[in-house]
């Protein structure tokens, strides 16, 4: 903790890009060597505590932040200290969010999260439309925040707001359920509340969208997991609504993916679809669902941020993210095309990627929950497969866009970046016992 806090002040004086990157990288390995091989809550003190879920999510966070530094090398000379400061703030916020014991503390840091993201979008974004995007993000996030907080305060009369609560409450009604869940469902995002996500992704720089897709959405899942324990009784009656909404929304949004022409919007919609799966997994309230959601969140964090990196690499070369200009890339970047294939295949949950295990677990949980929903689920899986294929085929094959004046080859650092996304995603199944 003290180290973390002193790092904030340290961060203002770091003059080197790679020093900061190395800090996060070694911090990740430091976390990795301390990993608890134990599945329940542990290390619980008065303020902080953890379980496997929060520990893994925090590890994912440090990993993504260290990769953010590699991905946005073109920002190296612009507001370096400010950028470092924001990244350290992110690290500390994730620390407090994932490891706090108290719901109110969790809420406060959950809300602080919004400010650095907004600063990233506004400060380093490209277009004028980032006004609107930031506005959407802000309003969607804030709208359910105070009702949630008032529900927490109301619960505080009867229950000590401990995050690892072992018993459920009987006296909670529908409004509690709605307000306690909605703040996280909007963050995930749930279908019908997802409009902010594509907008924010399009306007955000690569660092912003990596953090958004990599960790911010996972905070929502983390919150839902802890709220479900509180409102257990109401869940049993009302979860069917959100589950069916998610299934319908996933189908609609994966169809929406097929007529996108912007790479980033396509990836953003695909991440909404994946997050819909995660919501379903939590709301089915069984063990398979919980582990499946955990695995899928981990896999999606690496996979979608890798895809955003790929889209950014193309954006830097072609100055456009349009699918009509980014086509036939296999002719000029054959080796990058290989990475496109690997990451797209991970996105369509191809073995041995981690997403596959998550989706299988979720399939089983949904089959336990209701008999015939898995037919719809199969349809959605096919659609997910197809839009990932669409993404791959339309960028890599076809006629090359010939209006380019010059060619810039792919740097080794960019290959390294993609390597560090893909390898943990596809080799982590070897240590599956961490997750279940």
């Amino acid at each position: 903790m003290l180290i973390l806090f002193s790092m904030i002040f340290f961060s203002l004086n770091i003059k080197s890009w790679w020093l900061a990157q190395n800090f996060f990288f070694f911090f990740f390995f430091f976390m990795y060597f301390k990993i608890p091989m134990f599945n329940y809550f542990l290390n619980i003190s008065y303020l902080f505590g953890m379980d496997m879920f929060s520990y893994l999510m925090f590890m994912l966070g440090t990993w993504i932040i260290s990769l953010v530094y590699i991905s946005s090398l073109n920002l190296k000379n612009i507001y370096l200290n400010y950028f470092n400061f924001l990244m350290f703030i992110f690290l500390i916020i994730f620390y407090f969010c994932f490891f706090s014991n108290n719901f109110i503390m969790f809420y406060i840091f959950y809300e602080i999260n919004l400010i650095p993201v907004i600063i990233l979008i506004y400060g380093w974004g490209y277009q004028y439309e980032r006004f609107k995007a930031g506005f959407y993000l802000f309003i969607y996030m804030i709208f359910f925040s105070l009702p949630f907080f008032s529900c927490l305060l109301n619960l505080n009369n009867t229950v000590f707001l401990f995050m690892y609560y072992f018993d459920y409450l009987n006296n909670l009604n529908f409004y509690y359920y709605l307000f306690l869940m909605m703040i996280f469902l909007v963050k995930m995002p749930l279908f019908l509340f997802h409009i902010w996500l594509p907008k924010a992704h399009v306007e955000a720089p690569i660092c912003g969208s990596m953090i958004l897709a990599g960790i911010m959405l996972k905070l929502g899942g983390f919150g839902i997991y802890h709220i479900l324990m509180l409102v257990f009784k109401v869940n049993l009656n009302l979860n069917y609504f959100f589950i069916s909404l998610c299934l319908i929304g996933m189908m609609v949004l994966s169809l929406v993916c097929f007529f996108q022409s912007d790479l980033k919007i396509l990836i953003a919609y695909s991440s909404v679809v994946h997050m819909g799966l995660v919501i379903i997994g939590f709301l089915t309230l069984n063990n398979w669902g919980y582990f499946g959601s955990l695995i899928l969140m981990f896999g999606h964090g690496l996979c979608s941020s890798g895809l955003f990196c790929l889209s950014n690499i193309c954006y830097l070369r072609f100055k456009s993210r349009s699918l009509f200009l980014n086509k036939g890339l296999i002719n000029i970047y054959p080796f990058l095309s290989f990475w496109w294939f690997l990451l797209c295949s991970s996105n369509m949950s191809f073995p041995p990627s981690f997403n596959l295990f998550g989706e299988l677990f979720l399939l089983i949980s949904l089959m336990i929950w209701l008999d015939y929903f898995y037919l719809l689920y199969f349809l959605i899986m096919i659609l997910m497969f197809l839009y990932s294929l669409y993404l791959y085929l339309y960028t890599q094959y076809g006629k090359l866009f010939f209006n380019m004046n010059y060619l810039v080859y792919i740097n080794l650092t960019e290959y390294l970046l993609l390597f560090m996304h893909w390898v943990p995603l596809n080799l982590i199944f070897l240590i599956m016992e961490l997750f279940c």
Binding site: Y107, I115, I119, Y122
Partner: protein, 325 residues
């Protein structure tokens, strides 16, 4: 340095009249305090005289004089024929003095004409004595609901470009909060009031120093980095986002409203703050940009004494525990 004796006299009168009305033991001397308050603030509003400030002073005088005459009439009649119901009749003119219920839009149009510090006085100092007087009376719950509803007027801030008008709109919203706070608990109100006036003071001081009158002036300033960060934190704080001190006001108020089972009013208040977010965000946009257009002829201000306040804003939620309890 020449001492402006009239200024000193009027300021002392202002303070003592407020003290008089909040420490009086009977309604008539409270009323006297309010009257003295009115007569001492009118010269203060006009120290830097212009057509606009005179107009604003005139409006202020008319509203306040009308309210205090109403107050006097209801006070005199209290003993004869209104009996128990007379509370509402006394509250109404006091709310008018707070620029709350019947004519909430007087304040923004006045603020437009006044200079910054006079505006600050109007938004903070002038609200002490009517609020304390209201706290002596019993208030009907329906009335509370009605007034919270009517303070939806602050949504008109969406349409404004003038910084002072926007601040006045947020003051309407916040004085609703203060009014609810003082109905529940005096200590709560004093905390709320201190935080609110501190934030308002910082905001108005910055706007005054950099001579910012309209929102679009923020857009073209070549401001330095720390100023931007500071201003952003301030606006977020007035918004009431969690890490800042402004969130503490909301926290205290919501918690006390819940303890008193005023759920509907709490929901109304939450909706109000979300509405107000829109125009605060409009202010904070320009502070968040790293790259923007600016005028070359704009003078760079060298003085930056506000970095301390940035610290205060950001970390005070964690230390406020020590300050207030």
């Amino acid at each position: 340095m020449n001492l402006n004796l009239t200024k000193i006299m009027f300021f002392i009168m202002l303070m003592f009249s407020t003290l008089m009305s909040i420490s009086a033991s009977n309604w008539l001397s409270m009323w006297m305090g309010l009257e003295l308050n009115l007569f001492s603030i009118i010269p203060i509003l006009n120290f830097k005289s212009s057509i606009y400030s005179i107009e604003a002073t005139m409006k202020y005088f008319l509203i306040q004089a009308f309210a205090s005459i109403l107050l006097l009439i209801f006070l005199i009649n209290k003993n004869f024929f209104f009996l128990n119901n007379s509370n509402i009749m006394i509250i109404m003119p006091l709310l008018m003095k707070l620029s709350l219920m019947p004519f909430p839009l007087g304040l923004p149009s006045m603020m437009e004409g006044l200079n910054g510090m006079a505006g600050l006085l109007m938004m903070t100092g002038q609200k002490i004595s009517p609020l304390i007087m209201i706290s002596y009376l019993n208030t009907n719950k329906n009335l509370i609901f009605l007034i919270t509803l009517i303070s939806m007027n602050s949504i008109l801030g969406l349409n404004q470009n003038s910084m002072r008008k926007i601040l006045a709109m947020s003051s309407i919203n916040n004085s609703t909060g203060m009014w609810l706070a003082i109905l529940l608990n005096n200590k709560l109100w004093s905390n709320y009031f201190v935080i609110y006036s501190m934030l308002n003071f910082l905001m108005i001081k910055i706007l005054n120093n950099y001579n910012i009158n309209y929102i679009n002036q923020l857009k073209f300033f070549n401001l330095n980095f720390f100023f931007k960060l500071n201003m952003m934190m301030l606006i977020f704080s007035i918004m009431g986002l969690p890490p800042m001190i402004g969130f503490l006001m909301k926290w205290m108020l919501i918690k006390n409203l819940i303890y008193n089972n005023m759920y509907m009013i709490m929901m109304m208040l939450i909706m109000l703050t979300i509405l107000n977010l829109f125009f605060y965000i409009k202010m904070s946009y320009f502070m968040l940009f790293n790259f923007n257009l600016f005028n070359k002829w704009y003078l760079q201000f060298k003085k930056n004494n506000y970095n301390f306040f940035l610290f205060m804003n950001f970390f005070s939620l964690f230390f406020s525990y020590l300050i207030f309890y």
